[in-house]
Amino acid sequence: MMDEETHSLWDPLTGKAFQGLMQGSELKTWPIFYSTTEKELIKYPGTHLYFSQLKHPALWFFQKIFKPLFGLDSGGLIPPHFYRSMSAPIDPRLPKLTQGLGVVAENRAKYYPLDLIFPGEVIQEKWNNKTLIIERADHNALPVAIWKNTDNVPMQIMSRWYGFAFTYPQCEIYQDS
């Protein structure tokens, strides 16, 4: 992202400015979670909704094509010109459109491919002196990472592999044992 004020470039995952006047600055970041209307309201009936009232053909078009072409369950479709805009080659360790959960905490970044997070099972790993738990309730649910015995969650993001690996090039990859 570019800010209009200084034209610095910012990484939306890390909150760090990596080019321009603000280079070296870092903003506070929070995880964003995925859910559906039904699942959210079961657990959090008081959730608020921000609804875009924009009337624009492009918004209508995106709403129609998003789920089948770009949705979390889709194979993904990224236009070639998008890859050409990236400033580094895509990490070849996984197929570029692999969907997964990236976790960033304790000076580590690790990517958990979605097809290795089996519904109903729990992944439990030591992260320094903490225990990280990754759960996925069912096939239609997305995984969530949480610190064991707490309500605290680490920084996490559902992301295609190419994006996460671009931001965290030295990241670890979870492998089912």
Binding site: D3, H7, F33, Y34, T36, T37, L49, Y50, L59, K67
Partner: protein, 78 residues
């Protein structure tokens, strides 16, 4: 999502010449009262034990949502 009081976040844009119009939410409504599909995909952010939902299909167009919560500016990117 990133936030910093020292940055004029209202001016943050994806590109100098915007291809997509950022979402500038000014008010919210109870999710339970919204006429959405049960399986509508949502992006959820949490602040001070309150949860705020954005419709994923709308964010796929907007790419950015910018607003403030209790005076703290925020930016959600997708």
């Amino acid at each position: 999502m990133a936030s910093n009081q020292e940055i004029t976040y209202k001016k943050a844009v994806a590109k100098k010449e915007l291809r997509f119009k950022p979402f500038r939410p000014k008010s919210f409504q109870p999710l339970k009262n919204a006429d959405l599909l049960r399986d509508e995909d949502l992006l959820i952010m949490e602040n001070n034990a309150e949860r705020y939902a954005f419709i994923l299909r709308q964010m796929a167009y907007h790419h950015l949502a910018q607003g403030d919560l209790d005076g703290t500016p925020y930016l959600v990117s997708f």
